[in-house]
């Protein structure tokens, strides 16, 4: 069913339509939050809060076509609020992290390690966590959620040029982190 129609039904008081909406968006929001925090409990909490806020505010949504941007914005703002609430313990700046840890923390074999597929996800997740929040958000939305620059700009309420700049520096920083960790991978070591 068309999302805009679904939103209109909810605005007319159809609670069953809201259940359909949750079913449709649940995994996307959870995935976004999980990529942001790399933590299941945080992701669950953010997902719950996002849907509560969505439920409370959906009747006032003037442009149902923009629901996608709106719900991602809610989730992103909740993630940032959670970081503030937790005193930013959940995120470390790139420079600080590299200074503190040097090569990949807790993995003695890292300098010589060739990435296995099963490790890749964990390592990339750790690398993303070292990025500034705004760069991480853009990478997640672009790379994992596959949104257009225009859509991301709409979610973050920033100009497209800012989004592109954040993505550019985000990708560079991620590469730098992985290189600092001496991660060897066919894709990374071709240049």
């Amino acid at each position: 069913m068309d999302e805009a129609v679904l939103i209109k039904q909810i605005q007319n008081g159809d609670n069953a339509a809201y259940s359909h909406l949750v079913e449709k968006w649940h995994s996307k929001i959870y995935r976004f939050a999980f990529r942001f925090f790399a933590d299941e409990a945080d992701a669950r909490e953010i997902t719950q809060k996002t849907f509560i806020k969505t439920f409370q505010g959906v009747s006032g949504l003037k442009d149902p076509e923009k629901f996608s941007s709106w719900i991602y914005r809610i989730a992103n703002n909740l993630c940032l609020d959670e970081l503030k609430r937790a005193g930013r313990r959940k995120s470390t700046s790139l420079e600080a992290y590299i200074e503190q840890t040097g090569p990949l923390e807790g993995d003695e074999s890292a300098p010589d390690a060739i990435l296995q597929n099963k490790e890749l996800g964990t390592i990339l997740q750790k690398a993303l966590l070292t990025l500034p929040d705004e760069q991480r958000t853009v990478i997640i939305l672009k790379e994992y959620e596959g949104l257009k620059f225009r859509e991301i700009a709409d979610i973050l309420e920033e100009p497209e040029s800012t989004v592109k700049s954040r993505l550019y520096y985000g990708l560079k920083s991620t590469r730098r982190v992985l290189t600092n960790w001496n991660i060897k991978h066919e894709y990374l070591n071709n240049g």
Binding site: H26, V58, N117, F149, Y187
Partner: protein
């Protein structure tokens, strides 16, 4: 093309968000600018690596509680207003009901009086019963003995109920213990059977291996004896 513009176009090119003409133009720039080409290669390799991450992120089931309020009730602009209207209407209804009650009661000549024996509400002329210090002959009293009998009976019943409950609990515990013991016995019996099978298999294998070793030893000895005999014959 300044640095910011280059970054922006690089991102557009990388994520295929360029018009064909613009793309061709950018490819020409890339061809002439080795640094930019190198940067693009780095970015592409990083992208490929990110795309390699196929971690499955599955959300658990979310508990959805059917809302008892319509979502439109949460509309911030309307919620306060609706609440106010509701409160005013309720207050008006309560006030009207109280006024109506007073009017009806006064019409029916409602009398309310309070005595030591309680509150008396009556309609029409007041006809309060005469209060005396003498006990009411119609009321029934129980004697002290009857009272104690009643207490005894209650105690008996309570002890019976308690005894029954205790008995039931004891039986339940007994049953649970028997079940546990039965399960354990079955488990140990099965383990024992399995161990016995393993030991028997181990012994059979050992026996077989010993037999073959014995045969090998015999063959070797025969070969040695044969060789020794051949040597003696030659001498």
């Amino acid at each position: 093309m300044d640095k910011n513009d280059a970054q922006s176009r690089l991102m557009d090119y990388l994520y295929d968000e360029m018009e064909p003409a613009e793309r061709r133009e950018f490819e020409e720039i890339l061809h002439d600018d080795q640094d930019l080409q190198k940067e693009l290669d780095d970015m592409q390799s990083m992208r490929k690596l990110l795309q390699e991450d196929n971690t499955e992120i599955k959300p658990g089931n979310m508990l959805l509680i059917k809302p008892d309020r319509d979502p439109t009730e949460f509309d911030r602009s309307g919620s306060a207003k609706r609440g106010k209207i509701f409160t005013l209407a309720t207050l008006a209804a309560i006030a009207a009901a109280i006024l109506l009650s007073f009017a009806v009661f006064s019409f029916m000549n409602l009398q309310i009086s309070h005595t030591d024996r309680g509150t008396l509400i009556s309609f029409g002329s007041e006809t309060l019963p005469q209060e005396t210090n003498e006990p009411d002959q119609t009321e029934e009293y129980i004697t002290k003995a009857e009272f104690y009998d009643m207490i005894d009976e209650l105690q008996n019943r309570n002890s019976q109920v308690m005894a029954t409950a205790l008995q039931q609990t004891r039986e339940q515990h007994q049953q649970q213990m028997e079940d546990v013991i039965q399960t354990l016995t079955t488990y140990y019996d099965q383990r024992r059977q399995q161990d016995l099978i393993l030991v028997s298999e181990g012994l059979a294998q050992l026996e077989e291996e010993t037999y073959y070793k014995f045969l090998q030893t015999e063959e070797t000895l025969e070969d040695l004896i044969f060789a020794f005999n051949v040597q003696q014959t030659d001498e």
